[in-house]
């Protein structure tokens, strides 16, 4: 069904205020009771229409007997003004006619009232929601499915179908039963949940009341009885074997259903295009099989869902009742007393407190322990034997040589050389610096290497030319003195 099919509901509404009758908080309950009373009256009389006078008399009598009932007695006149009337049946009936719940027709000189189609459907559904008085039994629906499958099997075992109408009838009947059963199971689940919610909302219950609710109200609750029957007498598992056997037969010979479907459609007057009937039959068969399979696949989970809810409710109440009955309140006061003492004394100052609560255990370690095994400490020797060690003079000389080299060409030495070259000048070009030996040549080469540091007392500007010094071809640059970082100069020298 697509959304266009649903929109038909609003086309059918005679008045946009149709649902308003049941939506005003203060009067909705009274209105609903009166609607139910009207519905009951129609059903009891077994009539489709009754005279307005008869209905008014009946409702007035009903209102007199239920004087506390609050219901709508105001009506909007033609000018859009709301006029309130005394609490009687006539204005309420007028309101129902205005809003489309009731239909008024003239037969000769008498005004006859009938219920609208929506009235019948909606009040019937709402009554079903409220009605817990009768025990639901799933047996009939499950057995219906079972018998229908049993009836279908001979059609598949004999080569020629005996009566195609009957075969299709069995299929339709199974689908209807599954729909009904599925809806009822959902309702049972919801009703049990609603009962538990209602019970949990009552905060002022004594032990006796809770016990009575658990042992009387809940045990006699129609949906609970239906549920216990569902897991016992009506359990769909009992019929699953035969139903699966039938389904396998239906799947193995799809032609029988398709032929029967086409034949039935040809017999029945319909607007359907007969060229498409074969594909429709195939689709219908697929739908049927998936519906049955899905239902019997899901029914276990629905029963389990109800079962879990039921178990939790009983468990929770049992534990709480048992606990409440053991006069445990003394323990609470003892604990509170202990806490108040702990509040006033200094726990850390009393080493005895560490023995206050001890948890017996057999293993102090587990996978989450942060314990690290202690490594065995080495035992100190009784006496130490010192042996004089001599270093090879050649190695010592090599080490000293390297150390002096490091000192000779470190940053301090390079900066010192650069500043010495600058002297009092602000700038100097590299090719103008006098070089006396190879060490100084290396220092000159290293000047740009240390120039990038911010703390350097000089900076370098590269020039696009080269010069020759001591037989080496070098890139020329200019050294510029920076006087800002005196601190650093101090630090360096």
């Amino acid at each position: 069904m697509d959304s266009n099919d649903y929109s038909y509901l609003f086309d059918e509404l005679a008045s946009p205020k149709f649902f308003g009758i049941l939506s005003r908080n203060e009067t909705a309950k009274g209105n609903f009771f009166l609607l139910c009373a009207i519905d009951d009256y129609f059903n009891n009389c077994n009539k489709i229409t009754i005279s307005r006078q008869e209905l008014t008399d009946y409702l007035n009598e009903y209102i007199r007997n239920n004087s506390a009932l609050e219901f709508d007695s105001d009506i909007d006149n033609e000018d859009g003004e709301t006029i309130s009337y005394s609490k009687s049946a006539a204005p309420f009936i007028n309101k129902l006619i205005d809003t489309g719940w009731l239909i008024q027709e003239l037969y000769g000189f008498s005004q006859m009232i009938s219920r609208s189609r929506l009235f019948v459907v909606i009040i019937d559904s709402l009554k079903k929601v409220c009605n817990h008085s009768t025990h639901k039994e799933y047996t009939s629906e499950v057995v219906d499915i079972y018998h229908n499958i049993e009836n279908i099997i001979p059609f598949y075992l004999d080569s020629q179908p005996k009566n195609t109408d009957r075969l299709i009838g069995y299929f339709e009947s199974i689908e209807t039963s599954i729909d009904e059963l599925s809806r009822n199971l959902q309702m049972t689940n919801e009703n049990i949940a609603a009962f538990i919610r209602k019970d949990q909302k009552n905060t002022q219950k004594t032990i006796e009341e809770s016990l009575s609710c658990l042992l009387n109200d809940y045990q006699n609750y129609s949906d609970y009885i239906a549920f216990t029957r569902l897991i016992d007498v009506d359990n769909p598992d009992k019929f699953k074997g035969k139903i699966n056997e039938g389904l396998d037969l239906i799947k193995s010979k799809p032609g029988i259903y398709i032929d029967a479907y086409i034949e039935t459609k040809q017999k029945r007057p319909t607007d359907e295009d007969f060229t498409k009937v074969a594909s429709l039959a195939e689709e219908s068969l697929k739908e049927f099989i998936s519906k049955v399979e899905m239902f019997f696949g899901n029914v276990d989970s629905i029963i389990k869902q109800i079962s879990v809810k039921n178990k939790n409710y009983v468990d929770v109440n049992y534990e709480k009742l048992k606990f409440k009955n053991t006069g445990i309140k003394d323990l609470s006061s003892q604990i509170n007393k202990a806490l108040s003492i702990l509040k006033n004394v200094n726990y850390e100052d009393n080493p005895e407190f560490s023995n206050l609560v001890e948890v017996p255990t057999f293993c102090l370690l587990d996978s989450e322990s942060i314990y690290k095994p202690r490594s065995q400490s080495a035992k100190a020797p009784d006496s130490f034997a010192f042996t004089a060690r001599t270093i090879d003079p050649a190695i010592l000389e090599e080490v000293e040589k390297r150390n002096s080299l490091r000192k000779k060409f470190n940053r301090k030495a390079v900066v010192s050389f650069a500043l010495r070259a600058l002297g009092n000048k602000e700038t100097i070009q590299a090719d103008q610096i006098d070089i006396n030996n190879k060490d100084e040549l290396f220092l000159l080469v290293l000047i740009p290497a240390f120039a990038r540091s911010d703390s350097n007392p000089y900076k370098i500007k590269a020039l696009d030319k080269r010069f020759n010094k001591e037989g080496f071809d070098l890139a020329d640059f200019v050294i510029e003195k920076e006087n800002i970082n005196n601190g650093h100069q101090k630090e360096l020298f």
Binding site: Q200, K201, N202, T203, K205, I207, S210, N312, V316, N317, E319, K320, L321, F323, K324, I328, K329, D330, L331, S332, Q334, I335, N336, K337, A338, L339, I341, L342, K343, N344, V345, N346, Y347, E348, N350, E352, F353, S354, N355, L356, V357, E358, V359, P360, T361, F362, C363, L364, D366, E368
Partner: protein, 223 residues
């Protein structure tokens, strides 16, 4: 305790059990020795709990040879050594938290209309701890509080998801296990109260003594 008798009974039980059963029993005994407690509702324990329930005779005989009792309570199985055994001493915060958890558990049981019993949240524990006034405002710090909860979780008093202060938020649901009843019950609380009141008296008497000394000092100074 008749060790020989227990040993022969154990031998009979072992002979009549299959290899698979014996392996399961061995695993369960090791689990009991490492964890002490097996909680039915704890997912990682339920397998061992069920094995311990079905094979309680053989496990009991095994432990009885070492003077260790196998104790069965509702939803809990644990071992207890009569002659001492190891003890884990709870810190002040852990002790206070255990008291508070027990109070919450009692409240959840007394309230016939509330949510499921034995369930609470980290926030509820915090609120109750603050309300107790044992610690000054702002104490204990979050990490210390969560670490204490984690230690109680390791001892199977409680259970919750997460294992550090980053993964545990205030809405975290905490399940209180029946293990708590074995440590905090009517008898144990009486003993705790008796020790606590002794300490309090000791504190007061210390104060009194020190007070007297002060007075004497004052007297000497006056002289």
């Amino acid at each position: 305790m008749d060790i020989k008798k227990n040993c022969s009974e154990l031998n009979e039980s072992v002979q009549s059990s299959s290899d698979t059963e014996l392996n399961e029993i061995k695993e369960t005994i090791l689990k009991l020795l490492s964890d002490t407690y097996l909680v039915k509702d704890k997912i990682s324990d339920s397998y061992f709990y069920n094995i311990a329930i079905t094979n309680q005779k053989i496990i009991r005989d095994y432990f009885s040879m070492m003077d260790i009792d196998l104790i069965l309570k509702e939803g809990l199985i644990y071992i207890k050594a009569d002659n001492g055994g190891l003890r884990y001493r709870l810190s002040k915060l852990e002790t206070v938290l255990l008291f508070i958890l027990k109070l919450i558990d009692i409240d959840s049981m007394i309230d016939l209309t509330g949510s499921e019993p034995h369930l609470t949240t980290v926030q509820s524990i915090k609120n109750k701890l603050e309300a107790s006034g044992v610690y000054p405002v702002g104490k204990p710090q979050k990490t210390e509080f969560i670490q204490a909860l984690i230690r109680l979780k390791r001892m199977k008093f409680i259970d919750f998801k997460g294992s550090n202060s980053y993964s545990i938020d205030d809405d975290q649901i905490v399940n209180i296990y029946p293990t708590i009843n074995e440590i905090i019950n009517g008898d144990s609380t009486e003993i705790i109260l008796a020790s606590l009141s002794n300490y309090k008296k000791k504190d007061e008497s210390d104060d009194e003594e020190s007070g007297l000394e002060d007075n004497e000092d004052e007297k000497t100074s006056e002289d």
